[in-house]
């Protein structure tokens, strides 16, 4: 019986890294936007938080696009 442990291992590793990475990025984006709202009342760097948030969301969108590419390919 041949069990492809290497494939199972890479599924595990890739899933773990990508999931945690994406969720982390997206959370940073959300937190950035929320900070932006809070910052509008006077504290913190508005532009920086906002730009950071958009970068995070763009990275997530790229990941989704890559996902669609994987499905189609």
């Amino acid at each position: 019986m041949h069990i492809d442990w290497a494939a199972l291992g890479s599924v595990f590793g890739v899933s773990l890294v990508v999931t945690v990475g994406l969720v982390g990025l997206f959370t940073l984006g959300i937190v950035g936007l929320t900070k932006h709202e809070a910052a509008a009342s006077g504290t913190g760097n508005v532009a920086l938080a906002r730009t950071g948030a958009y970068v995070c969301f763009a990275a997530c969108a790229a990941a989704v696009a890559y996902g669609i590419y994987l499905i189609v390919a």
Partner: protein, 425 residues
């Protein structure tokens, strides 16, 4: 097309019915968490999932060349065996739906195939080690992989957003969750609709209608895509309820983490080549997200009922498949008998489900049917559920289910049904 026999017609219709049950069984995978966190309204969610399933069916032209991926020896497989296997898979899918348990449609199909093949050609036709590597091992691995990924992601997201207001971030999480759920739906349409197309194509090849190695005709692609989309739109509300509410209570960050984890694991596994069941991945990630939040509770009683269903899927569908193959072996009357039993069985299960209906009205309600005086919301939903005539979609589908199976039965072999009625199923 000119030589479609009665048997072949029945197999094609049954394959589409399986595709249909596959659709409504697996709506939960993509949409359970989306519905329970309120990211989408129930009807909107299933509609979106249905459209994406349909799109997915057309996206890939790589139709599965084997039904079982090497689990059984498909050389010289007879059309009756495919039919018997489908009967086993459909009945198991309906039974687990009645109980509200998410279970893998692919494993049900494998089980049916194994049972039917053993009855037809003996144990030697089953490749035991492939069963272990393609069914048993993934069944254990999927929830663990998805669960750990979703759990860590949930922990991380709660740590990062600990200084923000939960209400302010909920909207963002819901948007992200919709994107992940969309990916799961799309992947599901691509994989599972292809599977049905593969089955129909294989049946047509065994029946001598198509040349071996031929691509599926357009009507096969269209009808398989429509069947899975209609099944998805009907929505397996019972299973959605179990996954979205029964296993654990999900808040938007958890729902997002769970769905993203599920989408990632599904895509990674199919891309790397260690395929995992979508259902088991999604159940695992929901549980992982449940554990990941501080104070989150996973209802292990529901989880263990689910695990029992997973263990039983293969043998149970196998037994029904074997029984069905035993009857179809007896000749034409046996095939007709199996078709009638399938309709009767499906009808009974549907009737039983009406006793305590779960639909888009009460899919996220806290109690169903019981404790009418406990809370006003419960009374209202119960009343709505009691007063509402069976949801039109469900009723239509049940009628459809009967109609599509019964329709070709009275036909004679010399009277080939046109593909047109198949499109409805």
């Amino acid at each position: 097309m000119e030589h479609i026999t009665l048997l072949l017609a029945i197999v094609v219709v049954t394959a589409l019915v399986f595709d249909f049950t596959n659709g409504f069984h697996d709506t939960a995978n993509a949409m359970a968490t989306t519905i329970s966190t309120g990211a989408l309204k129930p009807k909107t969610a299933v509609a979106m999932s249905a459209v994406l399933n349909l799109v997915g069916a057309f996206l890939s032209v790589e139709v599965a060349k084997t039904i079982s991926g090497g689990i059984i020896d498909e050389k010289g497989i007879r059309t009756e065996v495919i039919f018997a296997a489908l009967v086993g898979a459909i009945l198991w899918n309906l039974l687990t739906w009645l109980l509200g348990l998410p279970s893998s449609s692919s494993h049900a199909l494998f089980g049916g195939l194994i049972g039917a093949a053993v009855m037809s050609a003996g144990w030697s036709s089953v490749n035991g080690s492939t069963v272990v590597t393609k069914v048993l091992l993934p069944a254990v691995a999927a929830p663990i992989v998805a669960g750990i990924a979703a759990m860590l992601a949930t922990r991380l997201t709660y740590r990062l957003n600990r200084n923000t207001d939960e209400k302010a971030t909920a909207k963002g999480y819901r948007a992200g969750q919709i994107a992940s759920a969309g990916l799961v739906s799309l992947a599901h349409g691509t994989n599972d609709a292809q599977k049905t197309m593969g089955i129909i194509t294989l049946a047509l090849v065994t029946g001598g209608v198509l040349h071996p190695g031929a691509n599926p005709p357009l009507w096969v692609i269209v009808s398989a895509g429509l069947a899975i989309a209609m099944g998805t739109y009907l929505g397996g509300w019972r299973i959605i309820r179990t996954m979205g509410k029964g296993l654990t209570e999900l808040r938007p960050p958890q729902g997002f983490a769970a769905q993203t984890g599920a989408a990632t694991v599904i895509l990674a596994s199919s891309h790397i080549g260690f395929s995992l069941s979508t259902t088991q991945v999604c159940s695992g990630s929901v549980m992982g997200a449940g554990i990941g939040r501080k104070g989150g509770v996973v209802r292990w009683s529901t989880a263990s009922r689910m695990a029992v269903a997973w263990v039983l899927t293969l043998p149970a569908a196998g037994l029904v498949g074997a029984g069905a193959e035993f009857l179809t072996k007896q000749g034409t009357w046996g095939i007709v008998a199996v078709a009638i039993l399938l309709v009767a069985g499906s009808g009974t299960i549907w009737k039983l489900s009406r006793r305590q209906p779960v639909d888009h009205h009460n899919v996220t309600a806290d109690e169903i049917g019981e404790a009418p005086a406990a809370e006003p919301a419960g009374v209202v939903t119960t009343a709505i559920a009691a007063v509402t005539p069976p949801p039109t979609a469900a009723a239509a589908a049940a009628i459809d289910l009967k109609a599509t199976i019964q329709a070709p039965a009275p036909a004679t072999p010399a009277d080939p049904p046109t593909p047109a009625p198949l499109l409805q199923g």
